[in-house]
Symmetry: D2
Subunit: 364 residues, 4 copies
């Protein structure tokens, strides 16, 4: 299943060491002005080789649109695109061709398909997320017209984490640091940790936090299609994701009900809540407050250390990876989290069955 | 969207204070023996009024099957069923008819649909999970024939939690305590906490842990349909769920890559891993090891205390709920978590494209 | 797959000789007033035993709604319903329990599921269309508010057919004849033919024509989701349907391109076509003109004559059906065609991505 | 909706005068050997400019695969591909930029999207069917391994038609004539008619017939997913299709039930039918006999004659098309019908829930 979304649908294709990563955006409304500079900037945020703490694989990651656009505007037809792969070093994988790398998808693909493309992780490579960033950029352009904004940032790397909530930081500072943390001091600590971990061939995980502002009340579906279930599935589909929570999340255990209920009040004609432990979602449907959530990412499985494993014939071997790898996915996961959030929110919005204006009572 | 699953699909209907909760299971293979005693026992585990720490609403929750079964066996036709509502006290809601209860779905339903059924939470009530337990019971019957087992338990209530992993407990003891915790000492503490919280009209949240044993390697889809994304969406669709993680989960931040990789080895012809930080899933596909995950549930929003809120005309009011409510959803969430896991795993299994036997190398 | 539709979705369940036929309508917008008399009248049009030329199985076919309605209006929650079976004569099928009736689904169900419910055709019985008529009635109520009307009629039975198009008849007369043909003379001939065929235990097929008026331009999807492809799939899913065409249909072979193109003209500010060979659909999308199509229905397979066949052990046998059967499905197929058309059109309408009003140029 | 299929899914993109036509085949099983010569030959059958009776637009139509293949074999990953457009003459459309061509999709796209790409019909052009032929070729490769074969042919052009059924002709002769009719005499007549029609700037329609041999019993879904409903939707999604019937089809009106029932018999251990009016499908499920059906195609709407219409401002104008167009789509529709049939059958096969071998009684 390489398609994401119900109305706004991204179908992705391509392998890490194939000709390209590509995708098709179907269900995109007509009339969206395609700001190519913005789209490219979004890809640049995800691009490998952008700083000392990411992989040194160097890719220009230029997107070529193949269809669905006329006079700079979407036509309602499917938007096909490709991003060529240029800097593969497939020979790095020769020695691992027949090995199941620990905590990678090599073994599970082999068991699912009976066959696998060994070059660079093939389809399981995080390079696939290029397609998501293109889809997400288009969704952001559409959401931006409605003043819905999405901002993610690195809130933890290993043991170094931010103590406050998103409201305690100036998220405009996020892109100032290579690690994409809005607290300059913590950012420096995180980067030092990543450099240290990288130096010894090891890797480290962390947490990305994300806030979506401006979502009107009424998005999401009750029961199985809850907005936070859709966001959770989107985030958990990102490579290396291990967990998701929203609003008070796992921290719910530290407060009684009387300490985490959000009270409604009438704020000069708008219904708001005084607190937002709900994370902007109640009963699976947005309530008009900020939506915020966290995604845990594990430490990258590829180590530049020798590890025991088995080969394709089931023989116990020892394996030492070569190749260019991220010591920590967090900095480059930030734009991917935003892209998946943008597509999820926009898809929910397009899926929403409209109600007669007469039934509305308050501005959303 | 009231349908769950792709091949094995449950469509659920019914409100808390309507005639019944019902459902249709479509895509169920023919030939599954419907063990009615087992199905009823699963419903009984979710039933209100089963102990002093759950709501006192009393429902027999007898399931009536309406179709799809002949001579005690599924025929491949859709299995329709209903569970009648008997013990509604709709009058308890009269005073709240026009109020938006804090942290409930009242306001968001009103903003989505322009109208709502105020009795007992309507469709947003956890009573809807009756249908999930029926679907889950059927999935469990099918999985049981393949020796796939699913066991959930309460691992935390408020500040009281289990320290160990599922392997440290005898999960056979889970059903011995009202709170469904396999550690008798902790169970007693949890129950005491719930009783205390209930006494003062407050509520408390917690964590359900779940382990699935016997899943063969190769289940789940790469990219957007990852097995843990499907499990996450399933769990986050349960009422009051606030978070999900699997394997090492959010705890990934406490270990470097070299400390959390799972090494493969050849165990007398089977490929296994020495540790299981991956939680049985790598690259979104099962690897044959135990699958385990956690779900955070918030403290119930309905308090028997007065709270400020607004009414349907946007006027600031104060509200004190009546009605019969759970002080803690955890004990009754355990069978719902299992039901959703069973449907997810069985659906993935039926969705799996088969590979030629000749391509298989090891027993799954 | 017992679900029809993408946004407005009917999931149907139940067997001919089970407890009931039921369904769940999901995705129905909130706020539709449920005119119960209208819905029941639609069921009465499909009801067996309504005239001398239909089966004598007698069913009241009272629909019971179980959910999704509050104060007589839909709430946006799924609408569950059942119609109880009352007048089964399952013993009529005892002798056929193990026989594969010619041109029935007995053999194919056996080969698909390895097992089958032999009573009255089980799930393959046309009794299943009760659920479609309920779904269709709800869709008609929603479409009626927008002045979209759907009218089907019997245009051919065996060799007796109407020569003109729908515009040549007063379709208001359709319900005046048992056979549902708007031409009283032809109706009498058709009814005489059906009576004659019935008398000798044989059956006869025919054609239902249908016209949909008031559909705005812009409904339907290009490429795979063309409006006529959706209508065709809907019609071909009805029991005994053998063919579908729309607009000029198969008759296209009798005219050159210059004789079947529909020329646009400006009719006082509205764009219309002078002719309508296109049947109201161009490039898969409605153009605002009347949509019309035909559905061919085969002669009913159940004959009250002896026929050769094989039994469940593959032995050649001779079989003579008992039971109560329609000698001709046409009269009762008319409301089913309308129901499927209503659900298809309403679903397409709900699926439509909206365009900004500023982009619209003419009234639809 | 530019995706076709449930398990084996083709997503198509690209416009007639854009960079390319492309597609993504998702859900294709691993291990299918990609016979590139065969795939290219299938495209060549659809290629414009292949004979005097098709459009003179000249395209090499070389397919470039971008992903999902390793060592010449599918890996289970999505198969992306493009076919570049080379011989557009977009200037031919300059004069029509703002006109709604009669019986074309110009007006309906404008009303649906508020905007359209005027070059060469954009997305509504039959050039889009290139993607279907690639998908169909891959499906044919998979079906061929199971000895399932699909053969379509032109059975009627205007008033010139074949009198017999597919069994009366040597379908191996189909590709010998430019018009793809297996009767050499009729083929010559058809070609003469098309040449004559073309000479006067007019166009003509006709019928494609198709037979699928080797499909095992048990494919297709009861109720809404009937095999013939899936085939019908597939065929009606092809440009210019106006009707579909299968088995006895619309001709059912010429025979009583006793004259069109198919009697089962035991043919040395296999269950077969003595006749095949059912067209290989009973109750929506294949019965193991040949599946055959017809598709009506209208006369091409683009005439090299002056016609009245309106322009984008709603002014009445007269329009004379330029450009290179087919006077009759039939010859080039034949491979497209086969491609859609192949994808439909293969998709149904992959969707089929398996039954235990022990439940099977006869070879399929």
């Amino acid at each position: 299943m390489n398609t994401f979304g119900n109305v706004f649908r991204l179908t992705s294709f391509g392998e890490s060491h194939g000709a390209c990563i590509g995708g098709v955006i179907d269900g995109c409304p007509a009339g969206i002005a395609m700001d190519m500079d913005f789209i490219q900037r979004e890809l640049d945020r995800r691009r490998p080789g952008q700083s000392a703490i990411t992989t040194s694989r160097s890719e220009a990651d230029r997107v070529e649109f193949l269809s669905g656009i006329y006079d700079g505007v979407t036509t309602g037809a499917p938007v096909g695109f490709i991003v060529r792969n240029e800097n593969q070093h497939s020979e790095d994988y020769d020695g691992m061709k027949d090995a199941f790398r620990p905590s990678h998808a090599d073994y599970t693909y082999r068991m699912k398909y009976g066959i696998r493309d060994p070059r660079g992780g093939g389809r399981a490579s995080a390079r696939e997320t290029v397609a998501r960033c293109v889809g997400g950029a288009v969704a952001k352009l559409a959401l931006g017209r409605q003043r819905i904004s999405i901002q993610a940032y690195t809130s933890r790397v290993g043991h170094i984490g931010l103590d406050g909530s998103y409201e305690d930081y100036d998220l405009g500072l996020t892109e100032n640091s290579a690690v994409r943390c809005p607290d300059p001091g913590k950012a420096a600590e995180m980067e030092a940790l990543i450099a240290e971990v990288k130096a010894r061939g090891d890797t480290v995980g962390g947490i990305v936090s994300c806030v979506v502002k401006g979502v009107p009340a009424g998005l999401g579906e009750p029961v199985f299609g809850k907005l936070h279930a859709a966001l959770g599935a989107a985030m958990l589909s990102i490579n290396a994701a291990k967990g998701f929570d929203y609003g008070i999340g796992f921290d719910t255990v530290s407060r009684f009900g009387s300490e985490q209920n959000d009270h409604f009040y009438n704020d000069r004609g708008c219904i708001r809540t005084r607190t937002n432990f709900s994370g902007g979602i109640q009963g699976g449907i947005s309530n008009g407050q900020d939506i915020y959530f966290r995604v845990a990412f594990k430490a990258v499985a590829t180590l530049l250390m020798e590890q025991p494993t088995v080969d394709g014939d089931g023989r116990d071997i020892r394996l030492k990876a070569r190749g260019r790898h991220d010591p920590c996915v967090l900095p480059r996961a930030v734009p991917v989290v935003e892209a998946m959030a943008a597509m999820t929110i926009f898809d929910c919005q397009l899926s929403r069955s409209t109600i007669p204006d007469s039934a509305k009572k308050w501005p959303e």
